[in-house]
Each structure stands twice: as structure tokens, then as C-alpha cells.
């Protein structure tokens, strides 16, 4: 239960960090909050040659409003995401989701960028970020690019971020952020990883008509993802029971749950449907 030896680096600028990540011939891992990577290292499931501690890289910090987006630095701790005034005001879904992560001793360390890069299929922030239509800014010594969140996740614990790239910041549209939202999670105990998690945003006009919607799920087999047909089942309706049933049915079509210690395929399907229903109800109630 002790990690294998590694070489430790603590760069003080983004450029220096990216140079370290670009090194050929050695396995280099970025260390953010370490709440997922360090357990893997202690269990020796991960044995990087070089560990690049990002803690001193100032460019990865900060939460700011920029035009019609809120930009959150990748090194923002979950505790800050949950309590920051700008996030709570403009992106209440994200703050709400962050509270569900682990315990305070985990949230004081874990980071937004780390959660997205680790890509656990049932983690909260990937699902909330999908529902909000985030854009993920990544950088490498080769240059910078932006990955739409819907293109970030590439299977369990896998992303389209290259080995030499680093998530620098995540940008969220305030338009999606101010929509009524719903968030529902099933976990055996408070603070446990979710078995299944659902996030919904709705845009409803004065007559109760649904103009826009997003439905995102995690813990459903494979990557967390948006369920487009479920959102389309709601758009243009008054979110009446028949529309909700259609949305829930399309979630059932989209999920590919895998049986494990915690639940059978049938149970996980039932929970995905239930949580979708709960998240839609919560979003409707909030409007």
C-alpha cells in the first residue's frame, strides 16, 4: 500500500508544467488534488515515472465571469466549486453537484480538472458539466485547443485529452447555468461514489412550454453522456406526464448498464429511469 518510486516535480508556471508533460520516453502524470490518482498509486495500479505536481501553477486557479461564460480554473477544489459565490449564483447545478462529492476531507483536495480528466463513469462533475454544455480548455507544449464536453469522455476512465495535454480551465455558458435544473444521485451511503447520477436542465417559457433541455447521466455503462433523445422528448412540450414518460423511455434505450457487486442490469436500468424522472421533477419544481 505504498507507491512505487517516482521523480517529483513542482513547476511554478503552466509553460514549465507542459514542458515536463511533453517529455518522451517516460510515463509522466499530472498531480492535481490526488484523490483518485494517489489511491491508484498506493495500490500500484498506477506507477508513473514522473509526477508533476500542479499545485504551484497559478494559471490553473481562479473563477471569473467572462462575457456570457463563467471560467473555472482546472485546479479549483470541489469545496470552492460548492461554495464560491459566482458559481452558486451563475452555475447552481455545478455547486449543487459538487456538494455530493465524497466528504469534506476529499472536497478540500479534489479538483474540477482532475475530476474531468479522471473521467470516472459515475462522478458528479462530469455529468453536471455535460448538462451545462461546458467547454474544456486544454493546453500542451504544441499549443492550446478547446474540447466540447460532449467530446471529452471516451470510455470509462478515458478521455480525448492527449498524454502531453493538460486541462487548464472549464468554461460554462451562463445561459445554461441559469436554467432550472434537477440533480439526482443514488449512492449507498452519503459520500460514496454514485451508482447512478442524473442531471437535467430545462428552459421553460412563460406559458410552461419547454424551449430547451439537457439530460445527462453517469453510471450507466461506458462514459457519462448526454441523452439527446430524452431532451428532445421534452422540448416543445409542456413537460406533461406523457412527455416525461417518453424521455424516461429514451433513457432506457440509451443506457448500457453493467452488472456488478452493487446491482444487476435490471436494477441499474430501473435506477437510471427513476433518477431521470426525479431530476426532471426537481427541475420543473424549481422553475
Amino acid at each position: 500500500m505504498k507507491p512505487a518510486p517516482f521523480h517529483y516535480e513542482r513547476p511554478t508556471s503552466l509553460a514549465e508544467a507542459l514542458d515536463l508533460l511533453a517529455a518522451d520516453g517516460v510515463e509522466t502524470k499530472a498531480l492535481a488534488g490526488g484523490q483518485s490518482l494517489v489511491p491508484l498509486m498506493n495500490l500500484r495500479l498506477a506507477r508513473p515515472d514522473v509526477l508533476v505536481d500542479l499545485d504551484a501553477v497559478a494559471e490553473l486557479r481562479g473563477i471569473s465571469r467572462s462575457g456570457d461564460q463563467v471560467r473555472i480554473g482546472a485546479l479549483t477544489r470541489h469545496e470552492q466549486t460548492a461554495t464560491d459565490a459566482l458559481v452558486r449564483e451563475r452555475l447552481p447545478l455545478l455547486a449543487h453537484a459538487a456538494v455530493h462529492i465524497g466528504h469534506r476531507a476529499i472536497r478540500t483536495r479534489g479538483t474540477l480538472g482532475g475530476s474531468l480528466a479522471h473521467a470516472d463513469p459515475a462522478a458528479e462533475l462530469p455529468v453536471a458539466s455535460l448538462a451545462l454544455g461546458a467547454e474544456v480548455d486544454v493546453a500542451s507544449a504544441r499549443g492550446a485547443r478547446t474540447i466540447p464536453i460532449a467530446e471529452l469522455f471516451d470510455g470509462p476512465l478515458s478521455t480525448t485529452v492527449a498524454d502531453d495535454e493538460l486541462i487548464v480551465a472549464v468554461r460554462y455558458p451562463v445561459d445554461a447555468g441559469r436554467r432550472p435544473f434537477g440533480f439526482a444521485e443514488l449512492a449507498r451511503r452519503h459520500g460514496d461514489f454514485a451508482l447512478t447520477v442524473a442531471a437535467v436542465t430545462l428552459s421553460v417559457d412563460g406559458d410552461g412550454g419547454c424551449r430547451a433541455a439537457t439530460v445527462a447521466l453517469g453510471g450507466i455503462g461506458g462514459s457519462p453522456r448526454l441523452v439527446g433523445p430524452a431532451a428532445r422528448a421534452l422540448i416543445g412540450t409542456r413537460i406533461d406526464p406523457a412527455a416525461v414518460e417518453l424521455a424516461v423511455a429514451s433513457v432506457d434505450d440509451a443506457v448500457r448498464p453493467v452488472a456488478d457487486l452493487h446491482g444487476s442490469v435490471a436494477y441499474r436500468r430501473a435506477m437510471a429511469a427513476l433518477l431521470t424522472r426525479q431530476a426532471i421533477a426537481m427541475a420543473r419544481g424549481a422553475r
Partner: protein
């Protein structure tokens, strides 16, 4: 690396892979912090890092550089008088084998620092971060509730 532990400055030369919990226990001889699961689940190794609770099994030694650490050894007052929270754990039999106790104390201290008068549910939620395999949770919650009612002790 340099760090301050319970008000005392230390200068150490350690391998980067050494976990913070092992720095405390083996380099500094502060064996009050317990290494349990060593992958962030059980909470026995919880310490306060710059005043915030963290799992010391998920931190490498260099991450303590320049930081202020508080462990269970830092709770007692001058003359080794136990902290009121520790006294409350004693009064309510809030421990059986005692293995989880250091983590429970620091988690409870952090809770009471933020929320001096928590509800029983809030105490249970905060302590859900820490496992007790003697299953003595009732008395632990009682001890924290009693401390919160007693109020007015320094949680910093």
C-alpha cells in the same frame, strides 16, 4: 522540505513517495495519526492541513512543504490537559479500540469550527467520512453533540 506540525517547525529530507501519514508517524514520531486503508476511504489518517481536513494517506511528503499541519497530538492544551472534545469522547465512551479516534476527532473539530451547533443529522453526515469498525457510532455522535452544546471551545 519544511513544515510546521502542531506549532513546531521541522526540516526533513525524505523520499517524494513517502506519504504524509508516514512522515508524521515515522519521521516525526507522531503516531497519533493512524494509517488505516491507505487509499482515502477510512478517514483514520485525517489531519488538518492549513486548517482544512485532508487524508494524509493521499498526500506525498513534498506536498507538506511550507504548510501548517495539525494532528491529534496538537489538540491537548498546555500541561497535556485534554481538549474538551477529547474529554467528551471519554465521557460518552466515544471509542472502543481507539483506532478511528484521531480521525474522528479532527473531522469533528472541523465540523464544529464551521458549524458550532450542528443537528444530529449534520454530525452523522460529517462523521460518515470516517469508519469505526467497532461500530461505536452512537456514542461518537453523542460526544460531538455534547461538545457542540457545551459550545465555546476553540476549534481553530
Amino acid at each position: 522540505m519544511r513544515c510546521t506540525v502542531n506549532g513546531t517547525s521541522h526540516r526533513l529530507d525524505v523520499e517524494p513517495r513517502r506519504l504524509a501519514v508516514d512522515v508524521l508517524r515515522e519521521n516525526l514520531g507522531l503516531t497519533g495519526t493512524h494509517a488505516g486503508c491507505e487509499h482515502g476511504v477510512c478517514g483514520a489518517c485525517t489531519i488538518l492541513l492549513d486548517g482544512e481536513p485532508v487524508r494524509s494517506c493521499l498526500l506525498f511528503a513534498p506536498q507538506l512543504d511550507g504548510r501548517d499541519v495539525r494532528t491529534v497530538e496538537g489538540l491537548a492544551g498546555p500541561g497535556d490537559e485534554l481538549h474538551p472534545l477529547q474529554q467528551s469522547f471519554g465521557a460518552h465512551h466515544g471509542l472502543q479500540c481507539g483506532f478511528c479516534t484521531p480521525g474522528m476527532l479532527l473531522t469533528a473539530l472541523d465540523l464544529l469550527g464551521h458549524n458550532p451547533t450542528p443537528t444530529r443529522d449534520e454530525v452523522r453526515e460529517a462523521l460518515s467520512a470516517n469508519l469505526c469498525r467497532c461500530t461505536g457510532y452512537q456514542q461518537i455522535v453523542d460526544a460531538v453533540m455534547d461538545s457542540s452544546r457545551g459550545g465555546a471551545f476553540d476549534c481553530t
